[in-house]
């Protein structure tokens, strides 16, 4: 029977010859992931179940990436709960401040995910790993607690919607633009319960970090998972990082799709999503002039080193327009940059500052101080202290409202979380 890549992975891990959309199956999990917000609840469920040990200590990944360095006592306690659990169960893949980053960036980077795996994570953007040709989906804490205990999960096989991207990309159009355009096209419910399969020559030409951004946002269209067939790019990415054996699945030519949507990318401009939803996107040329109060670069969708390079390439040598002094002191926009990667860069990136650029604010500054989330608190300070301009920056820009490095670790995806609003 002809199947899609999603169906093939699920069938293989459920021990079945074939599956069809709508089937309820129990699937073996290759990696279970949680972070400092969702893990404590999952751990409680794990204990309620009465399990004594995790199903496989090498197949659980816990990453402290939301409230690190801890912003208050409550978040420190959450982190401690996860750390204690990781120690007790000798979880191999436990990452915290000193060697961490944003989970969705560092797990692929550390080679924990390879094609053909089933990855279950207690975070809605877990679908990001589909970029490697794995089945990957987000769940709640109860599900994850049960997965940690049993190594299995119940799933309903999703119908697949295939998106075929053809044509020639315009300059500056990246994976993020393609996915925003797609979500704008189908709406935030457009792929509800479904698998989004991204295909076509344009996808094959995308670098990995842009594929991750696409799969990462599948959930914003309501999808269960986003997936891209592994190709040479995928395999070379995986081989550089992982010793795990990839299992390559590809959709059969006769596979049944709920829908096939063809998109000619040559018409797509860089996209801007406006409030209140990612589906409310507009082509850049229709946006007009918008004055910026805050700029945020990073997140789990775009926190790759390459994303920051792209941003640097755009910003280099530029200077922010002075704001009308009647509006506010002419300080330019406030910046926050979160770098998800635990990788060290080259050139200006080597110095643990993410972007070297021209000016921001009305005066000239040498560096935009991106504070890497993966460094120990003190070492971040040291790294920053090494930048003679840092104190100058604090004095002369709106960053002074964030007196300590830790308060710069603001991640907009989780901005709502800062008010403790759940995952």
């Amino acid at each position: 029977m002809a199947m899609t890549i999603t169906e093939k992975i699920l069938a293989a891990r459920a021990g079945l010859k074939s599956v069809s959309p709508g089937d309820l199956i129990e699937v073996k999990v290759d990696l279970a992931f949680a972070h400092d917000v969702t893990a404590p609840l999952a751990i409680r469920v794990f204990e309620e179940i009465g399990a004594e040990k995790v199903f496989n200590r090498n197949k659980v990944a816990l990453v402290a990436d939301h409230f690190v360095p801890n912003k208050d006592i409550a978040s420190a306690q959450q982190a401690k709960r996860m750390r204690d659990f990781a120690r007790k169960h000798r979880i191999k893949n436990y990452f915290e401040v000193g060697e961490s980053g944003i989970g969705h960036v560092i797990l692929p980077e550390k080679g924990l995910i390879v094609p053909g795996m089933v990855v279950i994570g207690a975070d809605s953007h877990t679908c990001a790993y589909g970029a490697l040709g794995a089945f990957s989906t987000g769940v709640g804490s109860t599900d994850l607690g049960a997965v940690m205990a049993t190594g299995e999960i119940w799933l309903k096989v999703p119908p697949t919607i295939r998106f075929e991207y053809t044509g020639r990309k315009r300059r500056w159009v990246a994976g993020k633009d393609l996915i925003l355009y797609t979500i704008g096209l189908i709406g935030v419910e457009g792929a509800l319960y479904s698998a989004m399969e991204f295909a076509g020559p344009v996808i094959r030409g995308l670098p990995m970090y842009q594929r991750f951004a696409m799969a990462n946002m599948a959930v914003e269209a309501g999808a269960k998972n986003g997936i891209i067939e592994p190709d040479r790019e995928t395999l070379s990415y995986v081989r550089e990082r992982s010793t795990l054996k990839p299992r390559i699945f590809r959709s059969d030519p006769g596979a049944v799709y709920a829908k096939v949507i063809r998109i000619d990318v040559s018409r797509i401009e860089p996209q801007v999503a406006f409030p209140p939803s990612p589906a409310n996107d507009r082509p850049l040329s229709t946006v007009g002039k918008v004055s910026l109060d805050q700029v945020f670069i990073g997140s789990c969708t775009n926190g790759w080193l390459e994303d920051l390079r792209d941003a640097a390439r755009i910003l280099r040598g530029k200077k922010a327009a002075p704001a009308p002094s009647s509006v506010r002191p002419a300080a330019g926009p406030a910046w926050a940059v979160t770098w998800g990667s635990s990788q060290r860069g080259k050139g200006p990136f080597r110095r643990r500052t993410a972007i070297s650029s021209g000016a921001w604010g009305t005066r000239r500054a040498r560096f935009i101080s991106a504070i890497p989330t993966w460094r120990r608190h003190r070492r971040s300070w040291d790294a920053l202290a090494g930048l003679t301009n840092y104190r100058w920056l604090l004095k002369n820009t709106r960053l002074r409202c964030c007196p300590r490095p830790s308060s710069l670790h603001v991640r907009t995806k989780y901005a709502s979380l800062l008010g403790m609003s759940g995952a």
């Binding site: 179940i49 009465g50 205990a149 403790m420 609003s421």
Partner: protein, 170 residues
């Protein structure tokens, strides 16, 4: 498995923050959460809801943050089932996992009015309006998930079925 109860009606896109506002997320006790359910949009709800009531809503119920506090608060408030045109995916899983059944029906929203008494058959998906005596149907809940609800949720299900062979503390 039949449920009878009074209808509470809601519209489209009821997100988890409406169900339980973010400021209550430091509470994990169900009964305490239940006191704040729909605190911002329908402050009268928590006081007036009685055990056995049923929520009827439009599209995309439970969208937004994947917090499990939302289905937990509904269940603890006494809600026995939610019928909606569609549900957000993670909410859907979370609800069944804690033993709160959800049903998808496109007709229910038109047929059922606030305060009416209805009867819902979880095994067949049949919905009967006991006030107007009209009926409509919802998609049948798969057996596996109905069992999940009957067992009382995923924790109980795993405890009973999955860990028998493995080491269990109690």
């Amino acid at each position: 498995m039949k449920i009878e109860g009074r209808v509470w009606k809601f519209g489209d896109d009821v997100d988890t923050d409406l169900i339980i506002p973010a400021r209550y997320l430091n509470i994990s006790d169900g009964r305490e959460l239940a006191r704040h359910v729909f605190a911002d949009v329908r402050p009268d709800f928590a006081g007036a809801v009685t055990a056995g009531d049923i929520i009827v809503a439009g599209r995309n119920f439970g969208c937004g943050s994947s917090r499990e506090h939302a289905p937990l608060a509904l269940k603890a408030a006494g809600i026995r089932a939610v019928i909606a045109r569609s549900f957000a995916r993670i909410f859907y899983r979370n609800a069944f996992n804690i033993g709160l059944p959800l049903m998808e029906s496109g007709e229910a929203e038109e047929l059922l009015q606030e305060g009416e008494k209805i009867s819902v058959d979880l095994s067949t998906g049949k919905i009967e309006n006991m006030t107007s005596h009209k009926t409509c149907s919802a998609q049948r809940i798969p057996d596996f998930m109905r069992n999940l609800v009957q067992t009382g949720g995923l924790v109980e299900h795993v405890r009973q079925n999955k860990l028998k062979k493995k080491t269990v503390r109690r």
